[in-house]
Amino acid sequence: MSDSADLARQCMAARPRLVAALAAQLRDLDAAEDAFAEAMAACLALETPPDRVGAWLMTVARRKAVDAIRSETARIRASEAAALIDEGEHSMGNVIALPESIPDERLRLIFICCHPAIAIEARTALALKVVCGLPVSAIARVFLTSEPAMFQRITRAKTKVREAGIAFELPERRHWGDRLEAVLLTIELAYTAAYQDAAGEIDPDLAAEMGRLAAMIAELLPEEPEALGLAALIMLARSREAARLDEIGAMIPLSQQDTGRWDFEAIEQARAWMDDAAVFERSGPYQVMAAIQLTHARRAFDGETDWQAILSLYNALLHMRPGPMIALNRALALAEVEGAESALEFVESLPLDRFGNARPVHVARANLLARTGNVRAARMALDRALVLDPPQAERLFLERCRIELSAI
């Protein structure tokens, strides 16, 4: 890796923590993001990179923020904000180092973004943008919406945070429950976005970071079975990270992965969390998804996959969280139990026109069509998936499938 690419990575790694600290001081998410972006640009333009990148960025970003506030608004507001920041001069170390009830700025800011006064469809999106640093285009993709619509949603949420005076502090513990659903969704989606391409198109550190945050929430809220369920779900996904790509970087689907490369310690940890969650007898989608992944993990021990169990779990999941992607995964389990024909019939009955640009739909169709012997239609489905801009690892895999289909 070149020095400048390495420096850019160091900056991005420091981003969540610094944006969180800046946002807490400025009480303005936009200003915090802008100040960080300017500081990062200044850092990359230096001839000699600073020794401590994070500390350097923080100092410069704060100076930029003060300048911006001074030049932008009326004198009264500026002096108030500048006073706020000058005060912060002394307390800055505290913001970063003091032990908190949530020992991580990033997780703290996720809880703040998931405030119930922010429109429910914007809470998670805001957190993904501000805290996880995901680009709006990626967020729009996971919510199956357009980029302009998502941009507007996030802008509105930021305005609400600023204008309504939403506090940049952690709510009392008894209010965490109101926010937990959106917090868990944020971590799930950020992990999904990162996991879609561990080969490196998106943030390569994000998957690891979200795994850490999920584990932290499980530790902080051991009485919340869904928090434990999410931690187990991500841990199980992470247990397969080493087995996901082949030597040329192509994705290896779950069913073909070398189970010897799975991380059994991670699987064991996930199982322990699920046992803890089961005690509460309050089932929820994360626990069910984790159970599906654990059932897959059992292949490493008995060499087979219990598809009937997986199908039943998907039936339950579809009930708890209806949606096209879960319906699609259920169809793939159905294909194993009842054959590809009935699964294909089910997939064709989905409202495909609404999700026509969702790549997994075409990949699933190609898979099922090929299994029913309709090779020509399968090739067409694969072609449609390939024009929808898959991440690199998936593209390599799909191209190989395409070649195999052509050989038939």
Partner: protein, 118 residues
């Protein structure tokens, strides 16, 4: 930061003998809240409004206006009164707003006041 707490209530809940008792209890609740604010040093002001049937609405349409008998919105809930309180954040305002007594159905809208200097 100043917040206006707009109290929207179903007025019919205060009709009849039962209603009179409810009104008494509600007023006592308001008095208790004002007492709390005074104790905690929260600056506040507020008024109780006459019922919705005393309202007259001036409705504007791009420069021309017409007068209407009755309140602005045709709902079961009427604006019954309001407070303006000065607290640090929306969360503080919401915490107080939740303590406003609202018997029966209703809503309390919490809205930041636009500061004069902006």
């Amino acid at each position: 930061m100043q917040y206006m707490l707009l109290i929207n209530e179903d007025e019919s809940i205060y009709e009849g003998d039962e209603g009179a008792k409810r009104m008494e209890a509600t007023l006592a609740g308001h008095m208790a809240l004002a007492q709390k604010w005074a104790e905690k040093g929260v600056a506040f002001s507020g008024e109780r409004l006459k019922p919705g049937n005393t309202a007259t609405t001036i409705r504007w349409d791009h420069g021309s206006h017409a007068l209407h008998d009755g309140p602005f919105a045709e709902t079961h809930e009427e604006l019954g009164g309001f407070y303006i309180i000065d607290v640090d954040s929306l969360d503080d305002a919401l915490e107080w707003a939740k303590q406003i007594p609202v018997p029966g159905k209703g809503a309390v809208e919490v809205r930041p006041v636009w500061p004069m200097e902006e």
